[in-house]
Amino acid sequence: MTSSEQRLAAIRGGVPARRHNARTIAALTGNPGCTRRAVLDGAGVDKPKLAERIGFPARFGQSRFAITRGNAFEAQLKADGGVELLRLVAERLGVPPGDRADWTDLGADDLADRQRRSREVLAAAVPAGPDEPAALFDHPLLGLDVAGRRVYLEPDLVAARLAGRFHVVEIKSFPVIDGQADPGKVAAAAIQSAVYVLALRELLTAEGHDPELVSHDVVLVCPRDFANQPVASLLDVRKQLLVLRRQLDRMARIDALLAAVPEDFTADLTAEPATLAAALSTVEARYAPDCLAACELAYFCRHEAREQTAALGRPVREALGGVPTVPEVLALATGERTPEPEQAEAAALLRAAARLRAEALGLPA
């Protein structure tokens, strides 16, 4: 174990690291500037449990109706050995599906086995030219390094080889209605798919192949309109790949991150809640309202950041001239506080704003 690994293990309190999946890796890009999150996720701390322990439970429950529906749609698509799925994907990519398609299920009970098979089979299947028959690979096991740890991804995705390239195929059960889908859900699907693209590219690179053989165009398969008919769309995930790469690189330099963390920092779930909360406060966070949808610690961090202008949202903070806290804003606005030289402009604006508001509301300025 390296010293960083030892420190991360100590932070977790000796328990095994929480397993990442594409969703949690995608979530890492949510607030890339936050050290608190990078360290906790790097260490594989069970953040939901941690949040609960310190009295700020996260609310990321999933309805069983949604889970059932997602599973049913996926099963429906794969029911016929992928014939229909392949036709859809091929049609979207504008290539003939060919009369013969291979469907390889890489699923297996043993994780190591599955990993080996995924690597061998996918490497052997590397696209050699546009004329090969199409092939689909279900349940591959892919890997990525997150903060120096190998993380295994078990996508229920299908990697399709068509027209000389691999394409990640992502099956989602949210509807595409008249060509439009919920933008938030599309964005989430894009970043998750990017995790798979990245992992698949790394697999090819490790086997000595050109990573660009994996297309940045992901095929998203969703139910169309209000029925169960599937429809395929293309999603360009180049931007998501960049963001993801940058954040994984940052987390790979875990030593640098740990340097900013006090020696005795702990997220050991057996510690007292007050100890845990105090420890968390020693690691820099960067709360923004977006955290509410992206990080299990959001309610804790929001509480901690309650006097900060950033907690009101980035546009609010900017409109307040970047002044960091609400008490400072108000003191500058009333003129009780003499602005620092670099705050002079913001202070003048705030004073004018306060005067105008008071005047319009008929209050004493």
Binding site: V186, A190, P315, V326, L350
Partner: protein, 495 residues
Amino acid sequence: MSTLRALARAQALAAGVAQPVATVRHLHLSPRPLVLVPLAMAGEANAPLAMLVGAAPDETRLLIVPQPRNRDQRFAFAAELAAVLLPYLDGHRGATEAVAVDRGRDVRHRYVDAPQLLVPNPAGITFLRLLGRATRFRRTDGEHPVHPSVPLLGRWLTFFAERAEHPGSSALVAMTDALTLHWATGQSAVEDLHLPALLGWIDPPAGHTGAEAAALAEDPARCPPAGPATDPEFDNRWLAPAIAAYAAAEADPAARAAAYAELERLLRDQLAPTWELMWRGVGLLRALPPGARVEGRWAGDRDAFTGYAEHLDAGGGPQPRRDGAVAAAQRLHRLERALTSCAVQRAYDDPLVMAEHRLAGEAFVGEVTLADPKRVDDSGKRPVLRPRIQLVTTEPVLVPVGAVLYSPTRPAQKARVVFVTPAADGKTEVVLELSGGMGRGLAAAPGSVPEAGERLCYTTLSEAFLPPATFPTAEETPRCPSRRPPTTPRPQLRS
């Protein structure tokens, strides 16, 4: 976000209660708005689960779908909703008024009143839009016939959803949008989308700060979400077993009735708190005096309602799935125009909104120190009345000489900037030359020229380029909705 609104948020946080960002009401409120609180089934494509609907606090109708995945039940729900909505709409097709069009060469008629739909949040508008999409093309014959009211419901819901995109329209309004137009809370815009938390800030219960009330309102066990999405915990713990019990009781009428009653009870409990909040929101908004130009924008809604009712009377078909390129461009243009016009109107109606423009240098307030109401310019072919006034202001004046300004108190009068001169104590003197809005002839009508001592606002914002109250056709009506089109770039689906 203007600095003025941002400051209001900071003040709200410090005060522990939301702060006003408007002094008048900027939307129309019907005496009998139809409130709709929908719930959808998680994981499905807009499958209705339940709805509370009614035009007065004590007129609730609860509609439920005991098996939301069953398509016949979905359309039965649509028919039930139609049985509430269509008579409500028809109730507004009474008296009409004549409106001059084509410069008075013709008249057309519009209803003197129009329906107004209120939902808790923007997601509620999306729910109605998708319900409209799911029903407007349905056929009343063929393989899966639906009740004749179903496609009609779909067309109307689509009509309302389209109106909701027009800045300034009050035809279909999300309560959270209506409230945040008038109050700033001490939380972020995302958190304001949660109606219970938002009202917690605006109207906290005695003994609580807004922040405390909002925090309580975020706990779904204490305060169910305002829909259409349900609380996952509720789904898993209560709803799923109740739906299963209903399904299992298929053969036993007594058990089935009991299971249905249980479902009704569960769903009503989830919806009732939001129903109360909706009417509390209505009450808060009603307490504000309406802005002077609200009635004009509502006339646009009445025009659109009249136009669409006539379209349907004439056997008009459903709205297309997607606008063609030209129609989409025209629509975008209309939306932009409406957005600009609505922003100007709100500023004219409300000094607190105008203050945002003053802070941005687009307006200033000053006192008239000199006035020459009789000044005549005889340098041209004909002598013309061109009074001049001088204002003194303490505000920075960023407008250049030659710019044309307007005053909300005399919107028909143009004021050209002639001189801008710095004066003592950081004040600024501005000389304006006036034209228009003074009657005919070379003598100004009494009161039409500002007098010394008057305190006035002058702004570059102009109502003029959108002729108010001349609506050529219902299709061409400058529509004014309250919701802005989303501007955040999102990953695009390509198909």
